[in-house]
Subunit: 233 residues, 4 copies
C-alpha cells in the first residue's frame, strides 16, 4: 500500500491516479496564490488560504511517510528527508499559515512571502528546463566573466556618478547603483536622472556599454545552444 | 464561368484579371482602415467605411459561390466554407458595418476593433512568412520553456513586489504584473516606480534577468535559423 | 595636368598630394558642421560656414572638370556627371549657402538640413562598410519579412489602442503609432502612457513581442555573418 | 630575500604567503572603496581611507624595490618601472590622499575620482577576461565599422533634431547628442522628449535603428565566439 502511494506521489504520468494527483497539486498551488493577489480581506480568501495549506500539509506528511522508498537509506531516510531542499521548500511554504495566529501584523507581511515558494513546486514537475540548464552550465565560466565585468563596471560607475553629481540627484550610494543598473540594462526609469554634463556623459557611455552587455551573453548563449544541438545529432 | 471567377479569386499572380483583383483588394483594405485612424466624423469617412464594407461583402459571397472548387467536397463545401478560419475572419470584419445601425454608442467602439481583422487578410496574400514560421515551429519547445520561465518569474516577482511596496505604489495586482513586465522587457515606462529599497532591489534583479530573457530566445532563434539555412544547402 | 588632378581627387591614398587632399576634405566637412551645432550667431561661425562652402564649391567644379576621366564617356561625361548620385549630394550640400541670402527665416531652418548631407561624404572615403552591407544584402528577404511583420503589428496595435484608450491619451493617430513604436523597440519614453487596463494589457503584449522583434533580426544577421566568414575561409 | 619578496608580490597562487598577500590586497581595495560610498564624514571612514592608502603606498614601494627582477633590465628597471601603466595606476590611486591636506574643497571632489582607479587593480589579478578579449580583438574591424555607423548616425540625427525642434527642447547641441544616444540604445530617459511631429518621427526611426545597432554587434560577437570555440576543439 505504501509502495502504491509512493508511485502516485512520484511517478507522475504513469497511472490515472498519479496523473490526477499531479493535476490536483497544480490546481492547489494556483488557488493558494489567489489570496496573495489582493489586499482585500474577504472570508472566501481566508478559506482558500487555509484549505490549500491543509492539502500541502497532507502532501508533506505523505512524502515523509514514503521517504525510505525514495531515498533508499532504510530507517535513516525519515531523518534525512526533512533536510532535503525540496522538503524544506515544502515546509517553509506551509509554515506561515500555522504561525499566523500568534504573530503581529507587521511580521505577517514578510511571512506571506515565504508562501511564494510554493510556486517553485511547479518546476519540480517540469523536465524541459534541463536543456536550457545544460547550455548555462557549459558556458558558466564565460557568462561569469561577463557578469564580473558588468558588476565591476556598475560599482566603478556608481562611485564615479555618486561623487560627480550634486547631492540632490542621489540620496544614497544604493540609489547610484540602482541608477547605473537602469542605464546598463537600457531600462531607463526616469525617477533618477543625471543633471550635470559629466553625469550625462556617463549615462551615454553606460547605455552604449549596455548593448555590449546584451551582445556578449547573447553570443555566448547562442554558441552554447548550437553546440548542444550538434551534440544531439 | 465559375471556374474563371475562382481562378481570379485564388490564383493571384497568374492572369491580368487576378493580379488586378489582388491589387484592388489590397487597396480596399488600406482604405477601409482610414476611418479608424481619426475620431472626426466627416461624411467622406462614412462613405469610405460603407463602400469598402460592400466590396468585402461581394468578395465574401463570390468566395462562398466558388467554395466547391476550393474545398473539393461537392455540395457540402457550401456548408463547410463559412466555418473555415479565413471565412470567419472575412465575415467578422464586415459584420460591424451591418450591426452599427441598431447598436448603442458605447458598443460601437468595441465592434470597430472587429474590423481590424481585415488587416490579417494581407497575410493571406504573402508567402515569405513561412520561413520565419519554420524556425519558430522547430524551436517551439525551447521557446516555450523560456516563455514559461519568464511567466513564472513575472508572477512570483509581481506577488513579491505587490506585498512589499506600500499600497500607494500599486493599486491592483494587475499593476504589479504590468510593472514587472515593463522591467523584464527593459521598456521602463515611468508611471509606476518602486519606492522602497527592497522594491528597487527587485527592479535591478528584474532588469538584469531581462537581458537573459533577451539572450535566451535570441540564441535559440539564431541556432534554429542556421540549421534551416544548412538544410537548404 | 588634368590627369594628375584626377589622381589627387580620386586615388586617395597613393601619392602624398592625394593623401593631403583627402585629409583636407575630411577636416572641411568637420568644420562645416560646427556652425550647425549651436544657435548662437557669432561672426566666426559665419566665416566657418562660408569658407567651407567655398572649398566644397571648388571641389565640385574640379570633379566636374575631370568627369570624362572618371566616367570614360568622352564629352558626354560632363553632362552625365551632375546627375550621378554623389554629384547631386555634393551640390545639395553647398546650395543652401548660396540660397540663404534671399530666403525668409523659417525656410532657412529647413535648408540647413540639406547641408547635413555633407556628412555622407565621409562614407565615400570608407570601404569596410561593404562587409556589413553584404550580410544585409544576402539576408534582405528574411529581414524584410521581419520588418513587414513589425510594421503590420504596429499599425494593427495603433488602431486598437487609439480606439480603446480615452481621447485624452492620444491626440492623433500618429501619436498612437509613435507610442506603439516606443513599446515595441523597448525605448519606453513616458510622455504618452496607456491609462486603461486594456491599454496596459496591449503595452505588455507589445513589449514582450519587442523581444521577439530583437531576437529575430539578431538571429538572421548572426547566421548571415557566420556564412560570410565561412565563405572567406 | 628580495627574490622571495618578488615571488610573494607577483606569483600569486603558488605559496601560502603569496596567496595571503593576494587576499590582503583584494580586501584592502574593497575597504578603500567604502569611504567613497557615503557623503557622511565619520572618523571611522577617515581611518579606513588613510590606512588603506598607507598599505597601497607600501605595496608601491615594494614593487619598485623588486622592479629589476620583473623587468630584467638591470639598474635601469628602477627608472623604467614608475612609467609602466600599472605603476602609474598604482601611484594615481594613492596620490589624492597625500594631496588632500593642502587642497580646496572643490578640487577635492575631482581628486577623489582618481582613487577609483584602485578598482582596476582587481583586473590585474584575473585571467578569464582573456577569452572575451580574444573575441573582441578578432572581430575588432567589424565592430569598429558598426561603431562608426552608429557614431555617424548619432551626429547626423543630433544635428537634424537640434535644428528641427524648438529651442525649449534642447538647450545645447550636447543635449541633442545625449537624446539621440538614449533613443538609439533604447534606454529612453524621459527628461528630454521630442515635441514636434518631425521630432517624433526621428525618434521612431532612431529606436528602430537601435534594434539593428543591437543585432549587428550581437551577430558579430556570436560568430566570433563560435569560431573561438571551434579553434579550441
Amino acid at each position: 500500500m505504501r509502495r502504491e502511494l509512493y508511485n502516485i506521489l512520484e511517478h507522475e504520468d504513469e497511472t490515472f491516479l498519479s496523473k490526477a494527483y499531479n493535476v490536483l497539486m497544480l490546481l492547489t498551488i494556483l488557488i493558494s496564490l489567489i489570496p496573495l493577489m489582493t489586499k482585500a480581506s474577504l472570508p472566501v480568501l481566508t478559506i482558500m488560504d487555509h484549505s490549500t495549506a491543509i492539502i500541502f500539509g497532507i502532501d508533506y506528511f505523505l512524502r515523509l511517510f514514503t521517504a525510505d522508498l525514495k531515498l533508499k537509506r532504510g530507517k535513516w531516510s525519515f531523518l534525512i528527508y526533512p533536510f532535503t531542499i525540496l522538503a524544506i521548500v515544502d515546509l517553509v511554504s506551509i509554515l506561515p499559515n500555522f504561525l499566523m495566529f500568534n504573530s503581529s501584523f507587521k511580521l505577517l507581511k514578510i511571512i506571506r512571502m515565504g508562501r511564494m515558494l510554493r510556486v517553485f513546486r511547479v518546476i519540480r514537475h517540469s523536465r524541459n528546463i534541463e536543456i536550457i540548464r545544460n547550455v548555462i552550465r557549459e558556458q558558466k565560466e564565460a557568462l561569469l566573466v561577463v557578469a564580473g565585468l558588468a558588476l565591476s563596471y556598475t560599482i566603478i560607475t556608481a562611485l564615479l556618478i555618486y561623487n560627480v553629481e550634486p547631492d540632490s540627484t542621489f540620496g544614497t550610494f544604493f540609489e547610484a547603483v540602482y541608477w547605473v543598473t537602469m542605464s546598463l540594462t537600457t531600462v531607463g526609469y526616469s525617477d533618477i536622472i543625471a543633471t550635470t554634463v559629466l553625469g550625462k556623459l556617463i549615462t551615454m557611455i553606460s547605455s552604449v556599454l549596455g548593448i555590449a552587455i546584451i551582445a556578449l551573453p547573447a553570443g555566448i548563449v547562442t554558441a552554447g545552444y548550437m553546440t548542444e544541438i550538434t551534440k544531439k545529432d
